[in-house]
């Protein structure tokens, strides 16, 4: 029983970290219509940034600044934001699929730099993390995982509340206006380029925060953590959960990560021994099928975007299902 609980906490921690990243992508894609195909670069920037800033001195590469954990985590998120700012200035004039291709290229570049720049990232052998924060207080076992889960959950809720406020604000309406019709927004005197950049950087900071938590939790990061698969997983979570709906984004993270892990568990348990070696491939098929089915029958996601009709002076907004 304690095993089940322990696993549930562990699973929820990873799912919550991924949910934070999905929320960041939701701001970019769901609300602003920016197709970020390089999620993993910003996730990785946050992860490496956090470990470099918070790590203990290591012989063969950068790091060892030993900053207090909150500073290191914030620094990682800022690193992701800085990367997004540079990338954004270069690429945000691109639309949809072109932006996707450009950002995907950035992500592959990022992975290769991390694999080769030994002095920066430890290269292919990876970057060892620091002792997890407050480990002395909670030890190594279940209590620690519970503490870390509550930290991650708090941050997830904070990010969620922040985004909910943001998208309901005038700025949020502006994001949606740009998503729907950029020219119309410009004709009203808005500056779409700047708003798109703001949204892109903000979303990337959130994704970087998720990366920082991820690297802290595993106390290790290597180029293998920043492969394009992660971008695909985070996108799948957003599509299934519902782009443009923050609750949907978080739900999607739990569902897809749950399906990913549960299918592996179920196959290892119930599939016949001869099929055991093929469970990996079967799992890919299962998850691919879920995504295809979603796109066919419920393309708006499980929790679709709620269309908010704002009327001045009315705090309670009438809602309407469907997009």
């Amino acid at each position: 029983m304690i095993g089940l609980l322990s696993y549930a906490v562990f699973f929820s921690t990873v799912a919550s970290i991924l949910a934070i990243a999905v929320l960041g992508l939701n701001l970019q894609w769901g609300f602003t219509g920016l197709f970020n195909g390089g999620v993993v670069a910003f996730f990785g920037a946050g992860a490496y940034g956090t470990l470099i800033l918070g790590g203990t001195p290591q012989a063969d590469h950068l790091g060892g600044f030993g900053l207090a954990y909150p500073l290191a985590l914030a620094g990682g998120a800022v690193a992701a934001g800085a990367l997004a700012w540079v990338v954004g200035i270069l690429t945000l004039r691109l639309r949809h699929d072109y932006l996707a291709i450009a950002t995907f290229g950035i992500a592959v570049t990022f992975e290769n730099v991390m694999r080769n720049a030994e002095a920066l990232s430890g290269g292919a052998k990876g970057f060892r993390g620091f002792e997890r924060p407050l480990r002395d207080l909670f030890g190594d076992g279940f209590a620690y995982n519970l503490f870390f889960f509550s930290l991650v959950l708090t941050l997830l809720v904070a990010v969620y509340l922040f985004l909910e406020r943001l998208v309901r604000s005038p700025f949020g309406r502006l994001l949606r206006a740009i998503r729907e019709d950029e020219d119309a927004a410009r004709s009203l005197g808005k500056a779409p380029a700047r708003v798109r950049l703001t949204s892109f950087v903000t979303g990337s900071v959130i994704i970087g925060l998720a990366g920082g938590l991820y690297a802290t939790f595993y106390a290790f990061i290597s180029p293998q953590d920043v492969l394009p698969t992660l971008t695909f997983q985070i996108w799948a979570m957003l599509i299934v959960g519902g782009a443009g709906n923050n609750r949907g984004a978080a739900l999607g993270a739990f569902l897809i990560w749950g399906a990913w892990t549960a299918s592996g568990w179920a196959l290892s348990r119930f599939a016949p021994v001869e099929a055991q070696l093929y469970t990996g491939s079967i799992q890919y098929i299962l998850i691919g099928s879920i995504i295809v089915a979603m796109l066919l029958w419920r393309p708006q996601g499980l929790l679709p975007e709620r269309l908010v009709l704002s009327q001045s002076g009315q705090p309670v907004k009438p809602r309407q299902q469907g997009a």
């Binding site: 696993y7 990873v14 063969d60 990876g126 060892r128 106390a219 293998q224 990913w260 055991q276």
Partner: protein
């Protein structure tokens, strides 16, 4: 009650009866089952045979009566070479199935987070066939693996120590090191410099060689500045050829020591054999023991193919040593006890046992009598150092007209002595 429900009820009863029979049948066949976990990249083509080999070991041990009288069930989970997936699978195996032994993973990038966030906190013993990163040794040296980590894959340390031995045997007083600027090159370059210094040889320079430069004049000049008597080259042929040509043309010595990466005809032909007369290279070697041949034979009998894929012999040994250690640690042993028992089954003074079902049965008897065992595995007589690393036999070779010839074969015992002596 309709016909339909009656039929359904009947079918249900039949299913129940069948299930009961199946259960009691199982109970007769075996009294107990001990689970072990395996997290391996089965969705990757080269990962599948590694997993099959691990399962092969489990089948052999079950054939010999299992561990402590219990059948072993290996629960295999796929890592998809994705650290998140691998860590989650490992955590599920530890928490939900209560395994005390985990086989895996293959990639260092997956094994490491499993080690730091799952097995060490939970006190589970982890045996990897193939993770090669030096980060594990560093972690172990800091005591952060708590002795729970083992890998059956020899590190670059073996070649580095043998390279230093060549320098010492030839009486060189000073050596410059040129290394390829990647994870492997940086690792071995650093190690060889340490071992040379430990032998009392001066390292005049350690110079990184980047890929695909048109000229290495600057690097070579830097290495020549200390006027070394010999040069150690941990390079790949392409950069190695350019660098060595410039080295020789600038008056560098022909006393060269090469890592196995330069054991190539391309390098010999491009540099010219007349310049390589006093050059020797090092390489790790597959063991010259009967047990290695026995593994090849039994593998062929089972899979009808040569065990040529990467990591197969290592996977076999990792799994077998894990199971032997479980047997040695006693019933219901925890991961830490199993890890501690590894020394009892890889004891050089112990009774030698073979790598098959009969060997396992023999080991059980010896262990039950309080003795220790020397496991003669598919990669030879495996012995772990205090960091959970293994070494391998090595060879010293030189170039000939037609290829390379072996000058010296250094057995595992001698390699161990060298590694031990220079530490």
């Amino acid at each position: 009650m309709t016909d339909h429900t009656i039929r359904r009820a009947g079918r249900f009863a039949l299913a129940m009866a069948l299930a009961t029979t199946a259960l009691t049948g199982a109970a007769f066949a075996q009294d107990c089952t001990t689970k072990i976990g395996a997290v391996l990249p089965t969705s990757v083509d080269w990962g599948k045979p590694i997993a099959e080999t691990a399962q092969f070991v489990v089948d052999q041990v079950n054939e010999a009566g299992g561990v402590q009288g219990c059948k072993i069930e290996m629960i295999l989970r796929d890592t998809q070479v994705d650290p998140k997936v691998g860590v989650d699978a490992a955590k599920a195996l530890v928490d939900l199935d209560g395994v005390q032994v985990l086989i895996g993973a293959v990639s260092s990038g997956v094994s490491m987070p499993i080690l730091t966030s799952v097995t060490v906190p939970a006190g589970v013993a982890q045996f990897s066939c193939c993770s090669s990163s030096g980060a594990f040794t560093a972690l172990a040296k800091e005591g952060k693996t708590k002795g729970l980590w083992f890998r059956t894959f020899a590190t670059s340390n073996v070649q580095a120590v043998v390279g230093a031995k060549v320098a010492k045997d030839k009486g060189y007083k000073s050596v410059a090191v040129l290394y390829k600027n990647d994870d492997w090159g940086q690792d071995i370059g650093k190690l060889v410099a340490e071992h040379l210094q430990a032998q009392g040889i001066t390292v005049t320079a350690s110079v990184a060689i980047n890929d695909a430069q048109p000229s290495y004049r600057a690097e070579v000049t830097e290495a020549l500045a200390g006027q070394p008597e010999a040069v150690y080259l941990a390079l790949y042929p392409t950069e190695g050829i350019s660098a060595v040509r410039e080295w020789l043309s600038l008056g560098g010595t022909q006393n060269m020591i090469l890592a196995n990466s330069l054991k190539s005809d391309e390098f010999r032909d491009a540099v010219g054999l007349q310049y390589l007369g006093s050059t020797q290279g090092t390489d790790t070697s597959s063991p010259r023991v009967a047990s290695a041949d026995a593994f090849v034979a039994s593998y062929k009998a089972r899979f009808n193919a040569e065990p040529n894929g990467p990591g197969l012999a290592n996977s076999y040994d990792a799994t077998m040593i894990a199971l032997l250690a479980m047997e040695a640690a006693g019933k219901d042993a925890k991961g830490a006890d199993i890890a501690a028992a590894v020394a009892r089954v890889t004891d050089p003074a112990g009774t030698p046992v073979t790598a098959d079902a009969a060997g396992f049965a023999a080991a059980r008897d010896v262990l039950a009598g309080g003795g220790t065992v020397l496991y003669r595995g598919a990669t030879g007589n495996v012995r772990f150092d205090e960091n959970g690393d293994v070494s391998a036999p090595a060879v010293i070779w030189s170039f000939t007209e037609t290829g390379t010839q072996e000058d010296t074969y250094i057995t595992l015992e001698e390699v161990d002595a060298l590694v031990g002596g220079s530490n």
